[in-house]
Every structure is written in structure tokens, then in C-alpha cells.
């Protein structure tokens, strides 16, 4: 089980993101198949998760992810700057999703044994 984040800084995964872990996960997952700018991120995230990230929340999470080196901006002449996943970001996303999958597996297994298909 992963330990809580501490003052020693973010651990592998997104445990150091606190309440921004949700938006950060969605953004990293969206960028996993290629670079996207803000509007494209919003639309893609809405399509695969049903969550519409508000602009302020999206850019707060983008700034944190960039400051932690998990994503980076791509050179662009357009006003809409795209972002892409870094190798560290891919590793963090994988670690975070592995934990989430464990949680989902345990939850589903217990639901199946305790509640059947109800």
C-alpha cells in the first residue's frame, strides 16, 4: 500500500498532488496518447470520463504537473499551446493507475462475493 505523501516531496505516482490528483490523473491519461492543448484536453477528458474540467481547475493542475516535470509544453506558433507527457509523467501515471486498479479489483471482488450481481 502506498504511504501518504510527506514533506520529502512527491513520491512516485500522484500521491503528492492531494486534492489535485483527480484532475491530474485525467490530464495525464488524456496526454498518454499524444500532445493536446487546453480545449482538446477538456473535450477528450469529457469524452472518456464524463467529467468536464473547468478552465481554472484544468490550468491549476497543468501548472502543477508542469512544475513537477510530469508534462512539458510543446513548441507552437499557435496561441493554444499543446502539452505532452514526459517519461517521469508516464511512470507516475502508470504507478498511480496500478494502485487504482488494485483498489478497483478488490472493490469489485468484494462486491461480487458480498452482493452478488445485485
Amino acid at each position: 500500500m502506498p504511504s501518504r505523501s510527506t514533506d520529502r516531496g512527491p513520491e512516485p505516482g500522484l500521491t503528492g498532488f492531494g486534492r489535485y490528483a483527480g484532475p491530474a490523473t485525467l490530464i495525464l491519461a488524456s496526454l498518454a496518447d499524444g500532445a493536446k492543448h487546453g480545449y482538446a484536453l477538456t473535450k477528450d477528458i469529457e469524452s472518456f470520463s464524463g467529467v468536464r474540467l473547468a478552465p481554472g481547475t484544468l490550468y491549476e493542475a497543468l501548472a502543477r504537473l508542469q512544475a513537477q516535470g510530469l508534462i512539458e509544453p510543446v513548441e507552437s506558433h499557435d496561441r493554444r499551446r499543446p502539452y505532452r507527457l514526459t517519461a517521469v509523467g508516464a511512470q507516475a501515471l502508470r504507478a498511480h493507475l496500478d494502485v487504482q486498479r488494485q483498489v478497483a479489483d478488490v472493490g469489485l471482488r468484494r462486491l461480487a462475493s458480498g452482493w452478488g450481481n445485485a
Binding site: 516531496g9 484544468l58 490550468y59 501548472a63
Partner: protein, 323 residues
């Protein structure tokens, strides 16, 4: 519609600090315009942008971690910590020096007030030592940078710090001669000179501001000092903050300053504990009755301490991030 959306986006963007707008402004405005066209009357978007802007301003001020580059986050958080500590110590010293006046005349006759004052005195002594320890490496680095001519922009803050420090020292020494405690008949809790200096340097923290009639009876020079000394203190804190931000402090100095800041937070908490013990004491003794200004001061000091702890944590996190 586009023009309206662009105007609305520009209005919303003003919630963010300039540095943030320089970095993200154009792309964020593009996203806002698209969002406004899709959802023209969304109140939740407005609330979200306002919240994000406030968070960005707090982060730029060093009070929030995670969104600045590690190289900028450490100095920003340390300056925020220093400013919070300056507010805390100004109010705390004002309160403490008033109590030492009472002690000069008559020692408290109950254990709770005695313990509270001893605790506050010990904490303020530790804070003084920590402030000196924090100032030395910053002044050394800034002095070295000034001597070697890089980076630019240090001369102004250094001159401001020096000028304000001289004003505070000379002014507090001068007005300290009028310290009421000097009329006392017994040794105080701390040397009279220190208590008098503390009293004079925080003379502006006074409930007399709420009583203009009584204030009008003060000598003009004292009134001028009460108005000028907070400006000098603000200049001292502001100049020191600019020095820390611009001096490109080495990582080991940032680490040292962060440790000092964390220790200062602990000392401030101890001081506040002593202060609260005095405030809630129902029989503090004749010369030690707290007033509304002391309760208000303690409330502001609590906020300053919480903000300082937040800034210290952000500084620690920045130190552990890759640069």
C-alpha cells in the same frame, strides 16, 4: 459573440497574477473564450476561475506549493514566511513589551500570568536569535553578489533595508527613553533597555488610534513616530523579501533558511501559547489586564502563524523537488 467572449475572458483573466498571465495568459484566454461560447451563462466557470486566480496569487506569494518552478518556489515561500513572521513578531513584541511595563512596577501575583510571561519572553528571545541567524547568510550572500555585480537589482532593496533598519534603531532608541517602565521601582523580567526598545519600536500598535481625542494630546514627535515606524518596518520586511528573491541564494542557504523558518514557526506557536494563557486568565493581576486590542492581536498572530507554517511547508517541498 466572439468579441463579447473575449472581453469576458479578459475580465476573468485579471484574477490571475501578472507572472501567471505572462506564462499561461494567451492559451488560457483561448480556452476561456471557447468555454464561454459553449456555456455563455455558466456561474460555476466564473467561480472556478476566481478560485483558480486566488490560488495562483497565493502560490505566487509563496503561500501555496506546487505550481511554481522549484527554483522560484523556495525563495517565494521563504519571503512569505518572513513577512508572516514580521507581522507576528511586531504584534507579539507590542503585547509583550506592555506586559514588561507592568512587571517593572509590580511582579504578577499569580502563577498563570507569571508562567505566560516567562514563556512569551523565552519565545521572543529564541525568535530574536533565529532572526539573526537567518539574516547573516542572506546579508552575506547579498553583499557578495553586490560586490561581484550580479545579479542586478540588489542595490535598491539593500539600500531600503539599511535605511529602514537605521530609522528603526535610531527612532526606537530615542523614543525608548520615554518608556513608562523606567518609572518602575523594581527589576523587571527582562533588561529595561531591551523592553524599552521593543516598546518604542512597536508604539504604533496601540488602541489610541480608536480614540483620536486622546491621541491629540500626544507630543507631535511621538505621533510622527507612531505613523512612520510601521512604514519603516514594512520597508525593512519588503526590502529583505526582495533581497531573498533576487539574491539567487545557493541551495544550502535555502535549506538553512527553511530550517530556521520551521524552528521560528515552533517558537511562534510557543509564544502564542503563552499569550493565550495570559488572555484567558480571569485574574491576571492589576497591571496585566488584557484589552480588546490584545485579543485582536492574538487573532491576527494566529492567522500569521498558520500562513507561516503553510509557507514553511511549501519551502520544504520545493527543496525536495528536482531543479
Amino acid at each position: 459573440m466572439n468579441a463579447e467572449a473575449e472581453a469576458e475572458a479578459a475580465r476573468l483573466l485579471r484574477w490571475y497574477p501578472k507572472t501567471w498571465r505572462t506564462r499561461y495568459g494567451e492559451e488560457f484566454a483561448e480556452l476561456l473564450v471557447a468555454d464561454i461560447i459553449e456555456r455563455p451563462r455558466s456561474k460555476s466557470r466564473t467561480a472556478d476561475v476566481i478560485r483558480g486566480g486566488i490560488m495562483a496569487r497565493l502560490a505566487a506569494a509563496g503561500l501555496g506549493g506546487g505550481t511554481l518552478e522549484a527554483s522560484a518556489q523556495g525563495p517565494a515561500s521563504l519571503t512569505a514566511l518572513g513577512c508572516c513572521a514580521a507581522v507576528f513578531v511586531s504584534l507579539g513584541a507590542a503585547m509583550w513589551s506592555q506586559l514588561t511595563v507592568g512587571w517593572q512596577w509590580s511582579a504578577p501575583d499569580n502563577a498563570a500570568t507569571t508562567v505566560a510571561m516567562v514563556v512569551m519572553s523565552a519565545a521572543i528571545l529564541i525568535l530574536g536569535v533565529l532572526a539573526l541567524a537567518a539574516a547573516v547568510p542572506v546579508l552575506w550572500t547579498a553583499g557578495w553578489r553586490l560586490a561581484t555585480g550580479r545579479p542586478r537589482g540588489l542595490l535598491g532593496p539593500a539600500a531600503l533595508v539599511l535605511a529602514c533598519a537605521v530609522i528603526m534603531f535610531v527612532g526606537a532608541r530615542h523614543f525608548g527613553n520615554g518608556w513608562p517602565g523606567t518609572g518602575g521601582h523594581r527589576p523587571g523580567l527582562v533588561p529595561g533597555g531591551i523592553a524599552a526598545f521593543s516598546w518604542a519600536s512597536t508604539l504604533s500598535v496601540s488602541s489610541y488610534w480608536a480614540h483620536p481625542g486622546a491621541l491629540a494630546g500626544f507630543p507631535a514627535a511621538e505621533l510622527a513616530w507612531m505613523a512612520a515606524s510601521p512604514l519603516a518596518l514594512a520597508g525593512l520586511a519588503g526590502g529583505a523579501a526582495a533581497l531573498v528573491r533576487r539574491a539567487e541564494l545557493p541551495a544550502r542557504v535555502l535549506d538553512f533558511e527553511t530550517r530556521i523558518g520551521t524552528a521560528a514557526c515552533a517558537a511562534m506557536a510557543v509564544f502564542l501559547g503563552g499569550c493565550c494563557a495570559w488572555l484567558v486568565n480571569r485574574e491576571p493581576g492589576n497591571l496585566f489586564h488584557p484589552g480588546a486590542i490584545d485579543a485582536a492581536g492574538a487573532a491576527v498572530m494566529t492567522i500569521a502563524l498558520l500562513a507561516a507554517r503553510h509557507a514553511a511547508r511549501a519551502a520544504r517541498l520545493a527543496l525536495n523537488r528536482p531543479r
